[in-house]
Structures are given as C-alpha cells and as structure tokens.
Symmetry: C2
C-alpha cells in the first residue's frame, strides 16, 4: 500500500512538472505540434499525447489547425491562447497603489492609479483595493489570478515588510492575512523589484534566453530582483538582493534600517526630493510636490538643458552607477535593466551610469554586461505584479485547472 | 526514428537524474533500504531496483547486510562507501598552493603545502603540481577526481582569473588548458569561496538541510560563495558573489580592480600586513614576514592580551562585519560561515563582527541568521576544492562509472 501511494505521488509530481514544461514551451515558442514539443522537451510522443489531451479537455490549451509546411503525416498545432486568460497586477509603493489587468504576455487591458496614499489613509486604500478587485473579478470572468508587488525587504513567510522607513505606515498591514484568501482567484505576493525581474524574464524575449538578469528598481525605494540561471535569488526569508540597503559608504548617511550609507539614501526619489528642496532653485516649489512629481520636474528641467538640473541628474546617475558596480560584483548578471521613476531621466542618466561603471567595474565583466533602461511600459512594476501570477500559472497548471 | 532517439535521450537524462538522487540520498542519510529510498525520493520500487542493480554492478554502491529492526519481508541496506573513493583537492592562493587527498566526506587522508609561490616561480609551482598529482594518482587507485579552488573573480568559461591584483602573476595561467585534461581522472575548477560554500553544504549536516548559506572567505583575498535554496549563485560568467570587490566606501581606497573602497582593501591579510607595517610596534618585524605570518603574529599578540593588537583586531573585525551586513542585504543566507586565515583571530573577532552586524542589520534578518567561524579544519578551502569534485561525483555518476 505504501508503495502504491508513493507511486501515485511520484506520478503526480512528474506529471505536473511535464504539464508545466509543455505550457511554458507553448508560452515562449508559440503554436507547436506535438512532435515539436516532444523533441524540444525530450518527452515521449505518448506522454505528450496524454498530457495535452487533458490540458485541452480542461480548457487550458487548444488545437489551432494544421501547421503549414509540415512534412509529417498529421501535424496539428497546439496553442496556449495568452490573450484568453487575464491577470490582475497590483503594485504597492509608499504613496501610490496601481492596479492593472493584463493578458499572459503582460499587455495591459486596463490600468488605474488609486488616490495618493498617506499613513492615515492606508485602511481606506485597502478597502478600495478590495472593492476594485471584486469589481474587476465580477466584470471579467477571464481573470484567473492576482499578483501583488510590494516594496522590500518583504518577509515572504510572515507577509509583511521589514523594519524600514519607506513603508512605515504599511508595516502594520499583513499582506497575506489581508489578501491571500480574499478573492475567488489565487493571490501571489512578491517583492517589487523581483516582480520587475520576472516581468522582463517573461515578457522580453531578448533577455529570456540568457536566464541571467537584474531588474534595478530606482524609485520611491531602491530595489533589485535577480534571476540567476533561470531562477530568482530569494534568500532564506525572501529578503535577498536588497541593493537599496547595501551600504556604498559605511561612514555615510544613516538609514532607518540601521545601516549607514545605504544606496537608497542617495538616489531614491525621496533623496532626490531632499536635494531639490536643499537646492531651492531648480524646482522652486519642490517642497509642495510629491517625491515623484519633484523628481519628474527635475528631469524635465534637465531635458530642457538647464545646467544646474543636468549636474544634479549626473550626480544621481553616479550613485545609480555605483549601485550597478555593486550588482556586477555581487550578482554578475548578463543584463541590468534600470526601471521605475528615476529611469525616466532617460539617456542623460544612462550615459553617466555607463561612464561610472566603465571607470569602476572589472573590465571583463563590464564588456559582457548590458545596462539599459526598462523598455517595458512606464508601469513595468505593475506588469511585474502580474508576472508574479503568470509565473505561477505556468509553473503550477493544476492550481488553475483540473488537469490531473 | 526521431521519436525513438528522443525517447532514448529522455530516458538517459531521467535515469542520470534518478541515479544522482539515489547516490545523494545514500550520501546524506547513510545506509538505507530500497523501500526507504523509494519513499524518500517518490520513485517506484521497480525503478529503484533497476537503478541500484546497475550501480552495484558498476561498483559505485554496495549491499550492506540486513537492516536491523525492519518489519519488512526483506530489507537489505544499500551503502555508498564514502571512505572507498578518494578525491584530490588543490587550493590556489597568491603565494600558497595546498594539495590534499580526501574521502567523499571531506576527511583529509594526506595534506601538503607547496613551497611559497612568487611571481617568478609560478611555472615551477605548476610543474610541481603536475608531478605531485601524478604521484598521488599512481600511488592511490581509489582517487576518482580532482577539484581545484582558485581565487575569484574566476571566469568560468575562459579558465582564468579576471584583472585583479591579488593573483597578478597567476593571470597568465589558463587553468582549463593547464589541468583539465592532464590526468587520468576528471578535473573540476571553481572559485575558492564557492568551493568553501560547497564544503560546508556537503560536509556539515547542520547547515545542509537549510540549503541557504554563505561561506565568507577572509584571507589573502576576500571572497564569498552563496548557496541559495540548494544551488550555488554563479552569475553569467561565474563571477557573482565577489564580496571582496563590493565597495564599502565609494570614496575609499583605490583597488586594482578599478573600484574604490573594495572590502578586500580593509580586511584581507595584505591589508592587515600594511596596517602592521604602518604601526611598527605590534609586530616589529612584520615587514620581513609573509602576509599570512604577519596576520597570525597579530592574532597571537591579541590573544596574549596586547591592547594595541586587540584594538587592531577589533578594527579589522568591524570591516569583516560591514561585509556581513552587505551579505545580509545582498543574499539573506541563513548561515554565514567565516573562514580562512582571518577567522583564526577567533572569538575576539567574532564578537566584534556580531556587534557590528547587530548595530547595522535589519533586525528581523539579524535575528534569523547565524554567524559562525568555520568549524572545518584550518584548511577548509582545500577540502572545499575536494567538495567541488565530490559535488560532481554525486551529480553526475555516469561520468565516473559505467552505470547506464
């Protein structure tokens, strides 16, 4: 009897793994015949036939007519219709919550910024999220999952962010208690920069194949998500790759995390905001603005050619560049993709980042690493929130469909 | 025909994976019955019987008599005799090459320091290594593989270290060309701190289960190896986790890697040596010593209670601690194990490292992370070199035995 049970367990986990591999193949390579899938995945045709029959029956994939140019007896294409399944992505930042609906490829179907969040309106914001999500789920039966991106350090098993200032008001919210079982579809929660890394890994074919990339989020906070050899680096508590709290100067500015000289204290939008208020001239009304608006006003001034604004952007870029050098030496990714608000400074920023890195990085690593600005839509981290759920959809089909 | 070939390929890779899982089970859990293995690995008894028969026939594992206390009809123990297979480990540092022979559990059978290496004696050292290894291979037919640990950043696919000062003379040596096919057994090469991480992961049962650990090598260089969720973090070129070249002060001391304020410039033995020569009093004849001997002389003085020496050890420990904080925020391992020469400073060092970390780390992460000195023998990185080869032995049995 024990042997029977073990056999069953074994078969179940092997089958789920093979299902996932087939779904991922169709996701990344598009319409494919059973023979093509069998060859690519080194699975027997019999296994492919059996598994795909169940996936078709469950409605997860479909047949898509004869493949053209095929020399085989019979070559029907199989298809994962990535437009047919929808995902809600929700990005939490200190003062801004964004909600979008996406297809499986990260194309936005709808998008909304919630009202600016203050420490004393967090409960209202939570209530609005429940209301909006339930509305979306009622209106769109194609929604199969919800992904959430929250600022790090996010303590994965606990469900809340660690003791760090930038989410002070949010720390009392336990994301798992609040959302995990609140809706008719499953909810998946991930640190925001890691969500951005998943978005690029899934939605950007150019970087997918390499399997080594870092998404470097420079916005209200500074975060990092790293995919090494196809897998996210997580750490024991899910709190790894917190570049924003790696010190670039052990004698530097104190940070509420307890450390000194944290990168986040030099190039996040709150730090930029402080610089602008201190300067007083580039953006005279900076003190009345949000961090985001102040940073955007600086970038606009710099792009108009204002010398003082350009100098400040270059100063910020050097700090972003120091962070890149740390990423090189810490994680050696093949691609660093800079995203979020500070990346909106554009080519002027990127040029100075690259110059800083060229001065300070180990040459062989610099030569083989690309540094770019995120080409995903301005709301990359929201599609990143969706990517967290898409990843689960591709990895664990049986959570979503009765395919066993 | 194509289908047949695919089927065969698939079977081969699945079989190798299952063989490896069985070998690893016997390695980590000791003598086990076929039924115990089947249960633990969720494999069918039929598969276990078939695979273990081939492994026994090939001489990789053996039957070890009836298991005591078993209620089953017939329960014969299977055993991987870890004392029966030997591995040569070779550790390269700038001025010191060490060669040891180990069993599969990292127990040293023999050990040798080669003569101190100078830039102009590297070729002699290479010749001695060839000669010694061939001698060992002739004398001990139980040797099945060679593992080598070299200082990072080691460019895995290129076979040499990157442009960094501490191995200047060694940079002309291509380790792959020089050693990969030079002997009757296979050779595996890895960055030294990563080798140390593998040694602790394999040879230390306490940390193995957690699967999240960092080996922090503080010696002639400063390096790091990180195992995240059971896998080494490598990076695109194999140059990730180079903590020694992560800056702790972007306005700090210049390093030959191009960066400023590299951690290695503050707590490696060459840096300690420079401090001692500058001081002039703690170890008056420091200038005539090697880096290692000078550091050891300092630690001896500190342990005798010399106040000046103690203060210098504490200064060094604070820098080692800053590195730990970076490791927390960068990799969030469950265990940080400090090894190599500087760890010989002992409890005085560890206490100050922990105090520094307690001041500066995110509290939730500090509470859940252990920091210890390596309990492996003083030559941990040499057993680490062996661990590189042991890992391959466990992962790829068919490279070593005709088991297919």
């Amino acid at each position: 009897m024990a042997d029977e049970a073990n056999h069953a367990t074994s078969q179940a986990s092997v089958s789920e793994s093979n299902r996932s591999r087939i779904i991922k193949h169709l996701y990344h390579y598009g319409i494919s015949s059973r023979a093509q899938i069998a060859k690519a995945l080194e699975l027997t045709p019999a296994a492919i036939t059996k598994i795909t029959a169940r996936l078709i029956e469950a409605g997860m994939i479909e047949e898509a007519g004869d493949l053209e140019g095929s020399k085989n007896r019979r070559s029907i294409g199989l298809k994962l219709d990535t437009a047919r399944f929808h995902i809600i992505g929700i990005k939490f930042a200190r003062s801004l919550v964004q909600i979008g609906v996406f297809d499986l490829c990260g194309n936005a179907l709808s998008f909304e910024n919630l009202p600016t969040v203050y420490d004393n309106t967090i409960n209202d914001t939570i209530a609005i999220i429940h209301q909006r999500v339930n509305g979306l789920l009622t209106d769109d039966p194609a929604i199969v999952a919800i992904g959430m991106a929250v600022p790090g350090p996010y303590l994965r098993h606990v469900g809340r962010t660690a003791v760090v200032s930038s989410m002070q008001g949010w720390r009392k919210i336990n994301f798992i208690d609040e959302f995990a079982h609140a809706f008719r579809v499953p909810v998946f929660i991930e640190q925001d920069a890691r969500a951005g890394a998943l978005a690029h890994f899934l939605f950007d074919p150019d970087v997918h194949e390499d399997g080594n990339l870092a998404y470097y989020l420079v916005g209200e906070g500074v975060g990092l998500g790293v995919i090494d050899n196809g897998f996210l680096i997580n750490g024991a508590l899910g709190a790894a790759t917190e570049i924003g709290h790696i010190s670039i100067d052990v004698n530097g500015r104190p940070c509420d995390c307890g450390n000194y000289g944290c990168l986040e204290r030099y190039c996040s939008t709150p730090s930029i905001h402080t610089m602008l208020i201190g300067d007083g001239k580039i953006v005279p009304d900076a003190a009345e603005m949000t961090h985001t608006d102040a940073a955007r006003a600086l970038f606009a001034k710099a792009n108009e050619g204002d010398a003082r604004a350009c100098a400040m952007v270059r100063t910020i870029a050097r700090y972003v560049g120091y962070g890149c050098v740390t990423i090189f030496n810490g994680f050696n990714p093949k691609h660093i993709i800079i995203g979020d608000i500070v990346s909106e400074a554009g080519p002027m920023l990127l040029e100075e980042v690259r110059a800083t890195v060229a001065e300070r990085a180990i040459p062989e690593i610099n030569e083989s690493t690309s540094i770019t600005l995120s080409a995903l839509s301005a709301d990359a981290a929201v599609s990143g929130a969706a990517a967290v759920a898409v990843t689960q959809f591709l990895e664990h089909p049986s959570v979503f469909f009765d395919v066993s």
